[in-house]
């Protein structure tokens, strides 16, 4: 589904009409609630809405943890490439060393992750189904794997792309309901079956140009199968602990890699923040009026706007001028953002060194630079060390924001993991444990330094 170009507050699309059909069937008006694609399952279970319908795929994990309707559409996973690469990249096997994008938490994502070790491509996951195609056209990706209707819609908006004809896999769209909501699910199943029989569903699919030969076969198989015995909740996922454990183990290497990304990104961004923060702080103390004004404005603008916005601007906003790789954009975004905060710590610390000491140093014949290096800097550094360490812990956690620009770090990897196993419990605990393992030693260091240097002053 998508926003109506004539009125962006109105959503339209095949799923919207299916929702309207279901609502009519139970005598209600459909009301649409927007959530992130990967949050649909969690939200429906919380009761934020009755049914999730947005290209929700029929997977064993989802079936084990939620109530699913009968499928209402069958899709193909297709490979989309740039027109110029049409003959070069025909299949995943042709993409060794290349970057392949998809939507997180989908069959396509699982398919790509499973195939990556053999074919040797890199999986890039997105939170939406629009940016993979714009990044493909821009050259940040070499291929996108997603449902054929998403690919076909993208081709209408993004010029210069081509869809390879062979299907990589097939899947079915279903409606997802809370696990206990089987009664409503059964009513919806009845409505969908009726719509398959009387041609209402076919009319919707035709209206959106997605009717093809697969759909009559799907309808026949749905209508031919016996209706499930009503009002019986499906077994919960944790009744099969061995399966859950096996799935968890399968995700551990990915979580470990993502932790390294988090750690590396945080360390590099902090190094940039410290270096640029020192420049900003010294400029604001020692610089002329123009430098002071410019640096002051930088600090206020950066601190006064969300880091999320800054990341979007760096990655997507600037892509017409300079096409930064995702990791570089993440590093710059976090580093330049934290530099503003660091500079305020350093400025405060530099100003905290008594004027009398600076004057004494001058009367001893030390130049301004030597005073900064030998007297002011070392003392300011001690004052700044504990708050800096605290900031590093904060940065470690804020690094999770860079998932919006396709960097798969720890939180993102956990979200994908949680979506695919259908539960946040184990992935959430694991993720928290890894963050704590990285941040607790740092917090401890900050406390130790604080104690040591506060005793010193």
């Amino acid at each position: 589904m998508e926003a109506d170009p004539r009125d962006p507050s109105v959503v339209r699309g095949m799923d919207v009409e299916v929702a309207a059909l279901l609502a009519r069937g139970i005598g209600r008006e459909p009301r649409f609630v927007q959530v992130a694609f990967t949050s649909i399952d969690g939200s429906v279970e919380r009761g934020d809405f009755s049914i999730g319908l947005s290209g929700v795929e029929d997977t064993p994990a989802r079936r084990a943890t939620h109530s699913l309707t009968v499928p209402y559409f069958e899709f193909r996973e297709v490979l989309t490439v740039r027109g110029a690469d049409r003959t070069r990249f025909r299949a995943l096997a042709d993409l060794q060393g290349r970057r392949v994008g998809t939507l997180a938490g989908t069959i396509a994502y699982d398919l790509l992750v499973q195939g990556a070790p053999v074919a040797g491509y890199q999986v890039v996951s997105y939170d939406d189904d629009v940016h993979p195609y714009s990044d493909l056209a821009a050259g940040r990706l070499d291929a996108v794997v997603l449902d054929h209707i998403i690919a076909q819609r993208a081709l209408r908006h993004v010029p210069g792309l081509a869809i390879q004809p062979d299907a990589l896999a097939r899947g079915r769209y279903v409606g997802v309901l809370a696990r206990h909501d089987t009664a409503l699910r059964d009513r919806f199943d009845g409505i969908l079956r009726q719509a398959m029989r009387d041609g209402a569903l076919e009319a919707i699919l035709r209206r959106w140009n997605v009717w093809d030969d697969e759909q009559p076969r799907l309808f026949a198989s749905v209508l031919g199968a016996p209706a499930p015995s009503p009002s019986v909740a499906p077994p919960a996922a944790n009744t099969a602990p061995a399966g859950a454990l096996a799935r968890t183990v399968a995700y551990l290497p990915g979580l470990f890699r993502a932790s390294l990304v988090t750690l590396l990104l945080s360390c590099l961004a902090m190094a940039l923040a410290v270096a640029f923060g020192i420049v900003l702080a010294s400029g604001r103390i020692y610089g002329g009026p123009v430098v002071r004004l410019l640096f002051g404005a930088y600090v206020e603008v950066v601190r006064g706007t969300p880091v999320l916005l800054q990341l979007f601007v760096l990655y997507y906003g600037l892509s017409a001028v300079v096409r930064l790789p995702a990791f570089v954009a993440a590093l710059l975004g976090l580093g330049l953002n934290y530099a503003a905060y660091e500079s305020e710590i350093y400025r405060g610390a530099l100003l905290a060194v008594s004027r009398a000491q600076l004057e004494a140093a001058r009367t001893l014949g030390l130049s301004e630079w030597l005073i900064l290096r030998l007297v002011r800097g070392p003392q300011a550094f001690r004052l700044a060390l504990a708050p800096m360490t605290n900031d590093f812990v904060a940065l470690l956690k804020d690094s999770s924001l860079v998932s919006v620009i396709t960097v798969v770090e720890l939180t993102k990897a956990t979200a994908i993991f949680a979506t695919n196993v259908g539960s946040w419990l184990l992935p959430g605990l694991l993720c928290a444990a890894i963050y704590l393992a990285m941040s607790l030693p740092l917090s401890r260091l900050a406390r130790t330094l604080e104690r040591r240097w506060s005793a010193a002053s």
């Binding site: 009398a356 004057e359 004494a360 001058r362 009367t363 030390l366 130049s367 007297v375 003392q379 010193a456």
Partner: protein
């Protein structure tokens, strides 16, 4: 005796208010001079002007053959000769908090005056020893008592052996018993041929000087030997000064 420090007709105003209005006096080598006056009379300002921490509006300051002119304080490189001629001890000592006593003393000789680290450390040790704080060479400023910190600050000011030593309220942080020993120490430094100029509120301590200069209304109100000035004050400002109890350390 030739004057080591000569101040001629020194005037300066701060925030539109005249602070000094034509101050003239001189201090010679081997002489110990006390600068007195009520709070706000400009005593500290004169010391600060002598080491180019404070610009002045008119007049002239000469330290041996180095002259400071009215207007903006010159850039630090131009002041290099002055830094070897005049040492300053601040009221709150202003020791470098992150360095030991010995490092405080040796820092400037090594980094600003090209003395080798070994030689600077050796001289720092000797200076601290001669000032009675040799045993505290490895201590950080926060570990020193007020009296010890002051002696380290004196050692630091003397590290490049300047012929002029300026001290701002040296007795402010000292109990009366220590004042006598400080006076002895200063006498010893003057005996080496140095010119000493210190500000003080304490008439007893001022008696240890060779000469007392009293400031009032931005000028030198009275000047002479301690006996003359402190025993038989002629100027009303001096009389008031002697009636006012010495203020506690600010």
């Amino acid at each position: 005796m030739t004057a080591l420090l000569r101040i001629d007709d020194l005037s300066l105003a701060r925030a539109g208010r005249p602070v000094l209005d034509g101050v003239s006096f001189a201090v010679s080598g081997g002489e110990m001079c006390a600068l007195m006056g009520l709070s706000g009379s400009g005593k500290t300002t004169i010391l600060r002007a002598c080491v180019a921490l404070e610009p002045f509006d008119s007049g002239k300051i000469a330290v041996r053959d180095f002259e400071l002119q009215p207007g903006r304080v010159p850039a630090e490189p131009a002041l290099k000769p002055l830094r070897k001629l005049a040492g300053m001890v601040f009221q709150a000592h202003a020791l470098f908090e992150h360095l030991t006593a010995q490092e405080n003393v040796a820092l400037a000789p090594v980094h600003a005056h090209g003395v080798s680290p070994d030689a600077a450390r050796a001289r720092a040790g000797t200076l601290l020893e001669s000032l009675g704080v040799g045993a505290r060479a490895g201590a950080l400023p926060r570990e020193l008592s007020g009296g010890e910190a002051q002696r380290v600050a004196i050692a630091r000011a003397l590290a490049v052996d300047p012929p002029l030593l300026l001290m701002d309220e040296p007795t402010a942080a000292l109990d009366p018993a220590r004042r006598g020993s400080l006076a002895q120490t200063l006498r010893g430094l003057a005996g080496e041929g140095r010119a000493l100029l210190f500000t003080t509120h304490d008439p007893e301590f001022a008696r240890s000087a060779d000469r007392v200069i009293v400031l009032a209304a931005g000028r030198v109100a009275e000047e002479g030997s301690p006996e003359d000035v402190l025993t038989n004050p002629k100027h009303p400002a001096t009389q008031e000064l002697l009636r006012t109890p010495a203020p506690k350390r600010r």
